[in-house]
Amino acid sequence: MRTPKLSDERGIALVMAVFAIVVIGALVAGTFYAGRLEQRTGLNSMSGAQSFEAAEAGLVDVLDNWDPTVYNAMANGDTLTLSSVSMGGNAGYVRRVTRLNDNLFQIVSAGAKTDASGNIMAQRVVGTFARLILPLVDMSAAITVNGTMTIGGSTEVSGVDRNPASWTGSCAAPTDTLAGVRSSANTINTSGTNCSGLACVEGNPRFQGSDTTVDSTIFNDFGGTSFAELAAMADLRLNGTVTGVAPSLTATLPARCDKTNTNNWGEPYGGTIYAPCFNYFPIIYVPNNLRISGGRGQGILLVQGDLELSGGMEFYGPVIVQGTVKSTGTGGHIFGGLMAAQVDLDPSTLTGNSLAQFSSCALERALRASATARPLGERAWIQVYSPN
């Protein structure tokens, strides 16, 4: 039988079949290309949207977790780049916080969507201008009282504005002299010889009685921030008796101010040992009564009930008490200002030396350091384009 040779094969079926395969292949490839193009375009749109949302999340993250001890301590012009955060789904953000001046910050957040290998598929950058929200506490005297006040023993009350001794460089030298005691009542009760004739009070005037601006409003409205709102921002919630208030550091190195310790109310003495706590001014809220014996701290102390100070407790910053303040034994020392419905500074022992010293520096530092940041009321949000 003869083996057929290729040259013997007639017709064009093979050629036509190959041609048809090429044409169909091109058609299929074209369709796949168009589909692929469409898929990539859709993917890019989705990646862009995800990166935008990631960038937005970065802004919210900074504002919702505002750490006053970090951001409020930044010098004007300083920039802090925070560690990147992964949100899962290959999306994440990087944030940068810049302090613009005493009150303003700029927060920039870059959101990115990456592929499985970490290559950036889309990136969007947004920002916001934010400002510190400081409670406006109406303290224009060493003690502001909306009721009766008794003063005696070796108590000292001073409306002469003074900076705390160890806060050199924190504030300008004060020049004002304010009232020693500002009260809605027209009299002040005194006992003992030390305070006879208000000799233990200095200020201009020593006693500003029948002050109609002293009412329940100033105990509850701090420039648009209510007492309850301020309390809701509290770093520490305490009750009962507190002893041994003192700064403390974390055990792990590098040592940081240990904010998990409820007895750590910052370090008002300065120095180097507890330096990380020098800028820690917690808001301390007490929903009932509080008795503090000894120790030292700083911040904003809010007491819903009564406050009793003893053992020479030293506190730097505003103290706002809805009930009665009582100082016993070796009484408390308050640098900043005290507001209370009633005050009894009549230590039972002659060695007692309650002190209420007005200090705008202590008030300012405590209020500023405790302040949180919020976006500007108008035009805060910005789309961040590439720098020109």
Partner: protein, 288 residues
């Protein structure tokens, strides 16, 4: 017998018919391929067009602000047109005088701009943040001035941009002291987005109102007759016609293909339409 070999007429006829069938099928296949490919390109172009719009319009409108005093960046609100203050950049002041502010333009504090600042034909204006009482966040305001000049400059030996404007010393309530170093500064122009029809086709156009532009420049299209539709909603999600009450804008884009495309076997070719809806939250409007 060798010389008697050849094709019969019947064989030749069969071959010719078969070649005609195969050739016809091939031509039809080629035509279909070309048509499908053209349709794919048309549809891809249409969707790409819509996506461009869905990116561009929200980018333009997301920064629109409404201040507490009741002034809104929304100057005109229509169903097919919108006029607004379009933010073009932001920076931070490093030097302040009554007639000039310098803003940083350094890597750690750049001027973030969509484009360079343009003072030609009064295109760009400036908003300067003023803090009346530093302790009171409720009295902050933005001072609005026409930019009269822009030039490269320095602050403490570092790169900056000098912005000139009419004297702001008479600012109310307390004057130039309200504007401090570190104040945010924003650059904007007044823009108008509007659908328009030319040569029988509808397009989305844009023009700079502050620069005195009269003619709309086409941005994307072609669109359907109602292809650029704007709806305005308040904080509760209800429609509103109040420029100060708007908290979100819904944009509907309905695009058309440039050429008619097939709708299927036996049906006449037709212009294809696709649509895309985007809800834009106004991030600089007061929170509900």
């Amino acid at each position: 017998m060798r010389n008697t070999r050849g094709f019969t007429l019947v064989e030749l006829m069969v071959v010719v018919v078969m070649m005609a069938i195969v050739g016809g099928a091939t031509v039809r296949m080629l035509v279909n391929t070309q048509r499908i490919s053209r349709e794919q390109a048309e549809r891809v172009g249409l969707q790409s067009n819509l996506r461009t719009g869905a990116f561009l319009v929200p980018s333009e409108l997301a920064e629109v602000g409404i201040n507490k005093a009741g002034a809104s960046d929304l100057i005109f609100m229509g169903a097919n047109a919108i006029q607004y203050r379009a933010m073009r950049g932001s920076g931070v002041s490093c030097l302040v005088t009554p007639t000039e502010i310098r803003i940083w333009d350094v890597p750690d504090m750049p001027y973030y701009g969509l484009r360079n600042i343009d003072t030609n034909n009064n295109r760009d204006r400036v908003l300067i943040f003023a803090e009346v009482d530093p302790a009171d966040p409720d009295d902050d305001l933005w001072v609005d001035r026409q930019l009269t000049g822009v030039a490269p400059s320095t602050c403490a030996g570092r790169a900056a941009i000098a912005l000139s404007f009419a004297d702001i010393s008479a600012l109310t309530p307390t004057g130039i002291v309200d504007v401090t170093v570190g104040s945010p500064v924003r650059i904007y122009e007044v823009m108008r987005l509007e659908s328009f029809t030319t040569a029988g086709q509808t397009w989305l156009g844009a023009r700079s109102v502050s620069a005195g532009e009269v003619a709309l420049q086409p941005v994307l299209g072609p669109l359907a007759a109602n292809g650029f539709l704007l709806e305005y909603f308040d904080g509760s999600g209800n429609p509103t016609a109040s420029a100060t009450g708007v908290r979100a804008i819904r944009v509907t884009l309905r695009g058309l293909t440039q050429a008619a495309v097939s709708r299927g076997l036996g049906q006449a070719n037709q212009i294809a339409q696709d649509s895309l809806v985007a809800m834009i939250a106004l991030r600089n409007a007061p929170k509900p």
